[in-house]
Symmetry: C2
Subunit: 321 residues, 2 copies
Amino acid sequence: MPGEFELIARHFARATPSAILGPGDDCALVAPSPGMELAITTDMLVEGTHFLPGTAPGQLGWKTLAVNLSDLAAMGATPKWVLLAGSLPDSDDAWIGAFAEGFFKCAKRYGADVIGGDTTRGPRNLCVTAIGELPAGAALRRDGARADDDIWISGQPGLAALGLAQLQGRTTLPEALARRCTMALQRPLPRVELGFRLRGLATAAIDVSDGLLADLGHILERSGLAANLNEGQFPLIPPGSEPKLAREAQLGGGDDYELCFTTPIPLRQQVVMLAAELDLPLWRIGYTVAASDERPAGDILLTDADGKPLPLPAKGFDHFG
Amino acid sequence: MPGEFELIARHFARATPSAILGPGDDCALVAPSPGMELAITTDMLVEGTHFLPGTAPGQLGWKTLAVNLSDLAAMGATPKWVLLAGSLPDSDDAWIGAFAEGFFKCAKRYGADVIGGDTTRGPRNLCVTAIGELPAGAALRRDGARADDDIWISGQPGLAALGLAQLQGRTTLPEALARRCTMALQRPLPRVELGFRLRGLATAAIDVSDGLLADLGHILERSGLAANLNEGQFPLIPPGSEPKLAREAQLGGGDDYELCFTTPIPLRQQVVMLAAELDLPLWRIGYTVAASDERPAGDILLTDADGKPLPLPAKGFDHFG
């Protein structure tokens, strides 16, 4: 059985052209570009909590990195450097090799170098730290939304939650939709280019990891605003899904890693053009309103297309809730 | 039971004066100092592998950060920013509070700001990423040692391994020594100031986490050298310990986080003066030699004070060995 250092060297030591020094020393060394700020995020994925036991290692490798790059995207940062720490129950070379392939495929796709890490024995747990660059002051923070901003969501939120329901036998989707939904769950696409392009457009942004309503709620609370959402402007429910489950997935399901963001009304046409340019649907689902005694910061009013209030489904996923 | 976000907010959201944006957004934002390079490291600590179940949370909080700051010290970097991801089996508020106290005590002691993190449910696992700054080109890498450099070790390596043996009932130390050894294990002091002061002096450095011989071996392999060590120049064995166990702990025990480093002979007196200034013993335990057919890179010859070869004890700790 190969030793720890040998495993690391074999699968994770690849060229790191953007770093001064990559894996293999006490630290990696990088030189940030002059005048740029760094956006830094860390996310831990635990077997049984964030992914099902038996998840294909290649998909898991991709997703482990993708969820971190999604946080960079939500700030508008360009991915640069990544570190991976992993606890594994055994030194299964085939598993580690497949995981590394998925991980590096994602790193290459989004232009990040894997500059360091740590490997240890224990229950399966993967922790990534991702670092991106962006011009000083350009970050898309959660606290920048203003009253009367448009609220947008990218792509097709809710597919990942439907995919999980399918895998857990809680629903039965048509075959093609089932494939699409499990792909959304297992191989999410972080909206890196969208985030990058939203610099200068969006007043606030967040990636939807806990569910659309919960994550929009974070923007609203941080920005001191409430929101009105119009279900008539939401993406359509995927044909062949159970409407109630699909709507709940759209509003409360996490793990899609779409971006929810706000923009000033005068920039609406630019967002529409950006959607066309990126070939990515951007749905204007509502608008922010000033908080008040009746509607405290974070309050969300959901109506149907005719303005009739609708009940809100359960909010996002809280690991300790 | 408080929710995840509430727990995080209560215990981990503190002032981060060195960051543009601290915890609570998709990413933290920092502005590196102009002209400085960044040293970045990540380390994962798993219950049962790196610390015993039931370890006091305050000590664990300190150690979790200290082992990462030790990696910065080994590069000669000044600690700046830290992220903490943790998986916990429950939301025990008292445990988390005590852990946070130990963690922040260490952060404050060494001048690092805790700028972000992640909390999730699962088997106990703590993963830190630490970022430090240093002038361009000043890093103490593993690959910079040259033939005929002096080899040094700081402090009293082996105490932590003796402390672990004591806790596991494998040895019985006198009371005062037992206290000192368990402190070395549970509350290690990263040699941050030593690392900082070794810039411009040391040709290579590493922190001893896997054992002195194993970690010196990494320097030698990276630098393409062999080494001669003289047991007569080693720190004395602590009085009251079993000599054989104590010597093995000194040569092969990890977890002390002392620094092992190499310096050119002409700088020897400066190292001696630095030891006095820092009030920290620095032991010149041997010297590097050019690798050869008989002595490949990484080869270590240990002799007694009279030059008689001694057998090497088992090498360091490999999690997958």
